[in-house]
């Protein structure tokens, strides 16, 4: 079968690899019908730790082709969404809804024995706990939005939950990438009254407004901080969704939270420490978040996707086949594309 491998910064290739196959009785194998490229895939693409030959991709929808002897809940032929982390669904963390800490869990597309979703097929460990069977056919018109339940919509929602968004709140969203835009959807969905999107790309800002953003801050650095304070009556935002992961972004996030406010971090941290320990202390600002337990959020968000109340699939602005994946990385990296869908 064909799959996406990254060799080093900027070097993404489609290669023939061994077919995905059952290894453990709890595994399933899915034929990938939709996958996509994630903003976090761009970190190694721009030179991170050594990724020599790493299988890429951690978001997909597929059709179950085979199941191991212990799989009971998932059946051949199911159309399933795959969270970016696999999880057994039974451990204490899964029971608490923190599947990204599952004691038998792990992450797709990060190397090792588990493959990536930018491929024709994928072995799914812990299939019963990991996969969520969708009530649609494999070419349903809602596929783009359903695919976001695999990561970006669940991650934007986790940012909002971690930042304690409540009805009537003012919310600032740092980052106009797909996760930030899904954060806007999530904030609105949870009842935020003011939603400030911080970004500069005109198309993304326009989409953020359609998703519910009420204000736009395109300034950078200290000017951006001052502008958010001004827009929030001098107080700062109740909730800040940090959807970038840089030192500058986390600095901004803690600076624009109001007293008693909360920062929800979902951008993979490329910084060592959370700055301004005294300032956050004196203002009683909390900092939470991490890898989103998207598995826990699928049922809740799925209902809104099925009813058309949210349309996170609009973050996809390009579709490619597997051969188009390397150029898809390039296009996302150059911000020519917001988020690229892959139809293997």
């Amino acid at each position: 079968m064909r799959a996406t491998l990254m060799y080093k910064a900027g070097d993404v290739r489609i290669e023939n690899v061994l077919d995905a196959a059952i290894r453990q009785p709890t595994d399933a194998v899915i034929r990938i019908t939709r996958a996509c490229i994630c903003g976090s895939d761009l970190w190694p693409y721009n030179g991170g730790p050594n990724v020599e030959g790493q299988r890429m991709g951690h978001e997909s929808i597929g059709v179950v082709e085979d199941i191991g002897s212990d799989v009971q809940r998932i059946k051949r032929g199911d159309v399933v969404v795959m969270p970016f982390a696999y999880s057994d669904g039974t451990c204490l963390f899964c029971n608490e809804g923190l599947q990204t800490a599952c004691v038998h869990g792990g992450f797709f597309g990060t190397g090792g024995e588990v493959g990536g979703a930018q491929a024709e097929a994928l072995r799914i460990p812990q299939a019963d706990g990991t996969l969520f069977a969708l009530p649609v056919g494999e070419d349903d018109a809602l596929m783009p939005s359903l695919l976001t339940l695999s990561d970006v919509m669940g991650t934007g929602h986790h940012a909002a939950v971690s930042a304690n968004v409540r009805p009537g709140d003012s919310v600032a969203v740092i980052g106009d990438g797909a996760v930030g835009l899904c954060g806007v959807i999530a904030a609105r969905r949870l009842g935020a009254e003011q939603i400030i999107i911080m970004g500069r790309h005109p198309d993304r800002i326009a989409l953020a407004r359609e998703f519910g953003a009420t204000d736009v801050v395109s300034e950078r650095g200290e000017a951006a901080i001052a502008r958010v304070r001004e827009l929030t009556g001098g107080l700062g935002a109740h909730s800040v969704l940090e959807c970038v992961g840089t030192q500058q972004a986390v600095h901004t996030s803690v600076a624009i939270a109001r007293p008693g406010g909360a920062v929800g971090r979902v951008g993979v941290p490329h910084y060592e420490a959370v700055p301004a320990a005294r300032e956050t202390f004196y203002r009683n600002v909390s900092v939470a978040g991490g890898p989103a337990p998207v598995r826990a959020y699928i049922a809740e968000l799925l209902a809104d996707v099925m009813e058309g109340r949210i349309e996170p699939g609009r973050v996809f602005d390009r579709t490619v086949g597997l051969d188009g994946v390397p150029d898809g990385y390039r296009a996302m990296n150059e911000r020519e594309a917001l988020k690229v869908m892959v139809k293997p």
Copy 2:
């Protein structure tokens, strides 16, 4: 009247100062019947920022002697407890229960126009919002416990609330000072099943056990972290109460929180940044806390003090008059005394 002033590190004096008097129509003046020395008073005592002649003390119970023309709720003769921060009781933050962010608020005993409580009397700004009238006489036997509602019991409770302590949880308390011990009380009161006190002083550990601590970790550094993990089935604690404020303490706090756990910080931070930004992210550990809005907690905690369900006043192990205050600082600083009560 006589009051406590700190001149520089180690130099605490009792001096005659101008009598406390009404300055604003929202002020009250109280005659101090009980005050105390706080662990945070020891920071300047050991050489912090310049404190030349600063009035000290931010915890007291007193009797209202005079009120300004706009004071309506508080009356002359009321026996009142004074939170360490004053607050108007009407602003948006006070309405949210975050009185330590009051837009007309501030802190006692930190210099400037507002005096300190280690004195014969004190002017109370925003008397209606700040003071809480107690249902007891000025020499009630419960005075020690009632006095802790001014700071340490409310602060220990805030640590527990910020660390999201819930029934059945495992809780680690960093620090065996008065706040840490009150944190043990708070954790037990909120239903924690396992309470690990981290400290080394035998008398304090013994008191912590009486307050409800189930385990003691007397190791330091990495050994302490390993021991807490061992005591919590390898997972770490659901909730960590950081009641010290040093770099080492905050490092330990984030290291011993389990996935999905929370750190509640109430130790005044003597560090610049919250370390381990990646580790806390990957484990979805939240960090919250700050100056406790003790005013918000008095009613709830008072009920338990009055009924004898909690006895935080047991943290006091020495009582002095005003003349004994300088030696009280010395004794607390040398850990000869746990917490010193002052009867002016």
